[in-house]
Assembly symmetry: D2
Homo-oligomer: 480 residues x 4
């Protein structure tokens, strides 16, 4: 067991990566997954293809642990590979739920890695099972694989497009096939990210192509960023280059706004915007919207850092490292006895008294979920001697769960879903509390404010405006 | 094998912790070691005593891995315990070299944890071996244990004082005994740190005492900081309270200045000074001493962060996170094939193009050792589009190895030992390079400059002024 | 890597076990699998059902290693469970090929454990894949699961019967279902074994039913042997008792004769015959058929022991332990350097000189496969001083591979397939060599000799008379 | 936790092995330890010396597990090595108690492996500790190492002789030194075994020398048996050949008689007698002394096998495998719930009904310790249908604990220490019970009977006649 706050991140997603046409594709994939480690720390997997056969390795653990052994990489030959980082779900984690999924089917072999969530997975699964399909995992990905397998079309690509029309949801998909190469696909509204990169050749080695959840995974292997896939786009990557297919037509664009706020790495560029710059601009907006007299601006590390820099710059207040993060928190730690629990031990954060003592402190954090972590941090900052604690949040209140691939608590556990701002302030024991406004958030993204129509982003977790139908919303039919 | 830069830290030391008179002492010790994890990531050990018997558990790995299992903690009963974090040496690491050392001897049992280095260990060891002593490890600590065991004095405390007079070096020592309680000791010049804390009682639980390398280990368990041990002080902690002994008399004070620059955690307070504040002041001094026209101040994370904040504040330039650190680097990672090596992959750092592109960048780092890491970072920043790169170092040039407990390369591997400033600048490919001056460094510590005499700190790695005789300097006689 | 002779057994099969209606069904299953460990040492798995949900644990290793941890058993609640021991295949062993297979399908859940081989698996698999089925493993069992899933019948039992009519092969099958209880099935000719047992109630605990590959697995848990399943019989075990179904009609009976010779444990009773007694009678027949003047009868342990006892008794020669077996051979051992290889090291057997020196020795072994092991043993016995070595084999010459579930080398590796008796004698360096005759073998089973028609057993590996069509004989279509 | 009967052996000892002057000495040592695995299954260790440095590897586990990895063997270079198998003690087993012990001392390095027990270890340890010696383990071996280290003599050999005069006990010792080569030593009365072998050269490889607990360890590597070391002999093996030293003079000869009865492997030759032949002769004596009308002779495997063969031969009754042993019992197994416990599960033995049903059975076993195992076996044989069960034991009643290196229960746990023959018979539920007589036992060894004086063997566990003073008998002073 672990301390509540020792789970590395309050929200969880996944990372996907694929490479085509480059020697040692699996080694590059391991590096790419390492750069995407923040998107999922529980498990990692790679499937490679060497022109003859598929090879796979999947295990629970960090990328460096799962693929750190050279023998493992040597066992994944070929110039094409796809990989996946899985986030940590509570409870029954099994290797059978680790991606990529590999399956033998009519076309000889198919590997699929998937980030996101289908909103009609349970419904589809029920229908598939009635038809005689067998499920080995509880993953949405397996639904997609079955849809491809039972499609009546002749080619994998047509089958993928056929399957794509049946599924609803927010997802990025990377597929490796023996004959058609590497396929990438983004959901019709482009809620989840997927970028295309070009691996330059070097010496006598050929270049090739890369797909990744974020650009930071291109940077680590020296690949050049080409572009984001468009919403609803399928790319087919093989010896003939990159070909685009459009199974859906143009149905809009609703990129997940929370990727900017929290999920993506600050050095990534998503949909043409630097994540770091968006965050610093949010900090600036926040300072303008809800400035308060104070002595120091302190980020809750790590996600609050750029916003706190932006806040400090806009407000003219000094930016200081008032909270230190311990990066050595392992996956497990001492099970808290009552004694230890009473000590209120913080495994991950500690207060820097030199910065906080006697000061009026502005804390900048990305969001408030249950409020328990925020309360602990405020209490810790007060215990270190802060005179006042003003909490500034770089997102609007999180009032609704995400059904599009980010693992959030259900509504009843979301503090903002049931409490007024003042109640929340009291709950976290802050002297003041402010969230960024919707308009401020969209201004930080370069808009005039939140568009009344033609929304450019999905902000359902704040607004409840779900752009994709929630077919299975009333509870998944089949659960592990 | 691991990438050169993936070893978590360029310098290495150890961390020690002890607690007396508190239920579940081992659980608290594990927490304290977790807070001291930055001082040593290779191995961890705890010895506890329950009034009847000693219990021990030692293993390679992070504290959370070694002590994360509740059964392990349950197997370490008692209200007294000591623990140790070991740094990662290259090559032959063995469990037999993990501390604390436990030995049965004439007084029934003795556990010792030790941070630092004896400068006459090899000489003493040779003499002890001639006398018939047997060594099971290659650790200096074992020399101390033998000296205690063969002492002709009657009590453990007298024997510890007897041993203390024979050893030379820089060390902090924590010893657990059946009859005399917990003993702490700092070397005569106080080169290595050791602080005393008070564990408050709660509910019906008694309070007790804590010893730790840094105050951050007191904070995590809610212990109050009492004071640093004085140079040369022995404290005896037991049911009668805390008693001080002074085996050496006053021979000066030379606390390791590099603890402030690099080693200690920023939220620690050492010898009355906040490590964080010293670092920000060094950044300010550096800005005054070697300011340069530029667009942005960027820290090399994590140790450069406070100094970069101080530099930015003093210079009026914006502070930005131009380099992102990946905290998921495991102990091992993919063995670089030539291909991967050619990619110049950075496992630990990545450049944030949004901040760096087209900018004149001031990089703030703590030191230059071999120069290879600095060169890689400068190249990475340039590759991200920086127009100019100005390196500012928060220590004077590292020209001499440390013989006092910090694992540094030998002189021939130190870039500064053999090259002029201009040669160094070229070697790291920077547009300009500046180190803090000795006077600037001491000003940051609150002095007028570096004292001509009565030095307050050990700065031998910069100055070559070694305050403790190097008896074994010409090479240890007995090596593993 | 391991020494050639250190692989625990030259032939390999599997073991299956199931229990219904007894508390702690998984614990009993682990014990049953332990008693069946000789049938497969590579991996073990259990799926349990507690009336609500299925639980599974599968891993590589011996039963005691995989299920020795109480937490593992505690995680497998319920009064129904099935288990499987998997034999060690060379090369690509993966957890994904460990049984039982569990799948979600139209009836909510299905677990299948299977011993044997389908002779039309590849053909069926090809057809299923064309239909859109996805395969996650390379196991025949998965074919059966798919056939059940796509069957158009309404109930699981009808679907199992439907599937049974499509598959050809030699197999014993145990299936666990949520609504229909525990199902057991033997192939139409009863080639592979499966016995039914009754678990008596005790104290206030109810009794229940057990299915197992051999009776020794009933003995270990105190279950009473009821009867062998009949060839082609399906038993449905649930709260209403045991019901039999006969999907095939009577097509004959061809129980695998090699189970008596080698595979089964000597304390098992199969098809009404004690394995031990059959073996001792074979030894007696062998003595009558091919007696030779000698001083001592020595078994090649362990399978040769009962036959050697029978041979000694019939011949009047003394039975002696001239070869000692080392039972501690682990799964891996020192990779033989040339030096070690030259020593001709025997990891598993050693010669007992006191018995062998100066003697004319009759060695009794179960079979000759490649001849290499026999040669090593004869050489070892000679090196220990034997004057003459007469090899007596308790089976007819192994000339044909088994396609019915026993992992034998292909024909080109079988010494007897290509060599005369005299050539074989020379190859193994024996003074004389004799195999049991077909008639002698059948006499030991209680017949007058080998029946000209109406064979009662499958002896295809000796006779080439394959009673089940080899649909896929020309090579499996789909391989891992 | 494990089932009571799953611990592999009721008595426990250790095995030692050493090789000098042969390439890949560590590989040969691993093979030798494998052949000696029956003497200790808990842990194994090897120390090698390559002319420059010592190398060691020690771990809990079977030899094949600890040394099966080629990298481990490659890390133990040199042409000299010693090794040790440790038996399984209950409770606190630690790596620190695994042998060989390696220590740096005045002569640069010393490795010691030791089988047996010192009867004045606690007394010596107390004195050494008073002198200032530190103990890291609880092993007797460490006492010997300290005595060598503090000896005032100049050479290692003189120091070993000096130490030898101070210790009392039954032991075989192998020591590896940098300058004096390989030393072997047997205790003054030769209670524990140690044999000398000659490793023939081959191709261009030199030959060398081997020391081992039993000859079976010579056989596995193809070494020729030269002779047993004499009681009290020290052999010094180096480039000059083998030299003998006699520190004690002739004080008699008392080789452990229980090595013949139970401990040694049947293919070993100890003190010129084949263990197998001694056992069969004991079986013959037993048949003559206490024959009984019966149908079948059944050994309790494995140690009862040769004696049962001898008994059957002498009595003319058929020898049959009425009890089958499961050799796959791992070190841990399912923790018995009450349910499982009530089933009386036998993990290691199972009854072969075909042999036992309706028969009058003579069981042959090596000894009765607590009586619980014997009772379980008799009950199991009865449950399998035996009409009568007559237990015949190949040793006299075990009435006294061994203080000479075999781990036996204390007197109060020995059934024979407190009960009459008839009480014992009832306790184990047998129809008759007989032990071999002292005279019969000695006749099997080639004597006329048990010598009234000049005993040739130690039989203290049966007779209470302890030939070596029990200095620490009243309880060890220092315990773990």
């Amino acid at each position: 067991m672990s301390f509540p706050e020792s789970s590395s991140r309050p929200y969880e997603e996944c990372g996907v990566f694929g490479v085509w046409g480059v020697p040692n594709a699996a080694a590059l994939t391991a590096l790419g997954l390492h750069a995407l480690q923040h998107r999922g720390q529980e498990a990692a997997g790679i499937v490679s293809f060497d022109g003859e056969a598929f090879y796979q390795h999947k295990a629970l653990g960090l990328v460096g642990d799962v693929f750190g052994n050279q023998d493992v990489i040597a066992g994944l030959p070929g110039e094409a590979a796809i990989g996946h980082n899985r986030y940590g779900t509570t409870g029954g984690t099994h290797v059978r739920n680790v991606q990529p999924i590999y399956a033998d089917y009519a076309f000889g072999g198919l590997a699929v890695a998937h980030n996101g969530n289908l909103t009609n997975a349970a419904t589809l699964r029920q229908a598939l099972v009635k038809r005689g399909c067998i499920f080995h995992s509880t993953m949405d990905t397996e639904v997609i694989v079955h849809l491809i397998a039972i499609s009546l079309y002749d080619t994998v690509i047509e089958r993928l497009m056929d399957a794509a029309k049946k599924i609803k949801g927010a997802y990025s998909l990377i597929t490796l096939t023996p004959d058609n190469g590497l396929l990438g696909m983004r959901d019709p509204l482009g809620v989840r990210p997927l970028v295309l990169g070009r691996m330059p050749g070097y010496e006598d080695k050929q270049g090739g192509w890369v797909l990744a959840s974020e650009t930071c995974a291109l940077d680590i292997i020296g690949a050049d960023y080409v572009r984001d896939l468009e919403p609803g786009e399928i790319v087919v990557i093989n010896a003939e280059g990159v070909k685009s297919l459009w199974p859906f037509g143009d149905v809009g664009r609703r990129f997940c706004i929370f990727e900017y706020i929290y999920f993506a790495r600050p050095d990534s560029i998503l949909e043409g915007q630097s994540v770091y710059e968006v965050r610093t601009r949010i900090g600036g907006e926040l300072a303008r919207e809800s400035g308060v007299e104070a002595d120091v601006v302190v980020p809750v590390p790590d996600s609050g850092v750029p916003s706190a820099i932006g806040y400090a710059h806009e407000s003219g207040l000094p930016y200081e490292m008032g909270i230190v993060r311990n990066h050595y928190v392992g996956r497990t730690f001492i099970q808290p006895t009552d004694q230890v629990r009473n000590l209120g031990v913080k495994m991950k954060h500690s207060a820097n008294k030199a910065v906080l003592e006697g000061r009026r402190v502005i804390l900048v954090d990305d969001s408030i979920v249950r409020g328990t972590t925020s309360r602990k941090i405020v209490d810790m900052v007060r215990a270190a001697g802060a005179k006042e604690v003003h909490m500034r949040i770089t997102s609007p209140p999180t009032k609704h769960p995400c059904f599009y691939g980010i693992d959030t608590p259900s509504e009843k556990h979301l503090l903002a879903a049931r409490h007024s701002l003042e109640e929340m302030r009291k709950a976290i024991n802050a002297d003041s509390l402010a969230f960024i406004s919707f308009d401020g958030l969209y201004r930080a993204l370069g808009h005039q404010g939140r568009p009344a129509e033609n929304h450019t982003n999905c902000d359902a977790c704040f607004s409840g405006d779900y752009p994709i139908t929630l077919v299975d919303k009333d509870g998944k039919l089949i659960q592990q």
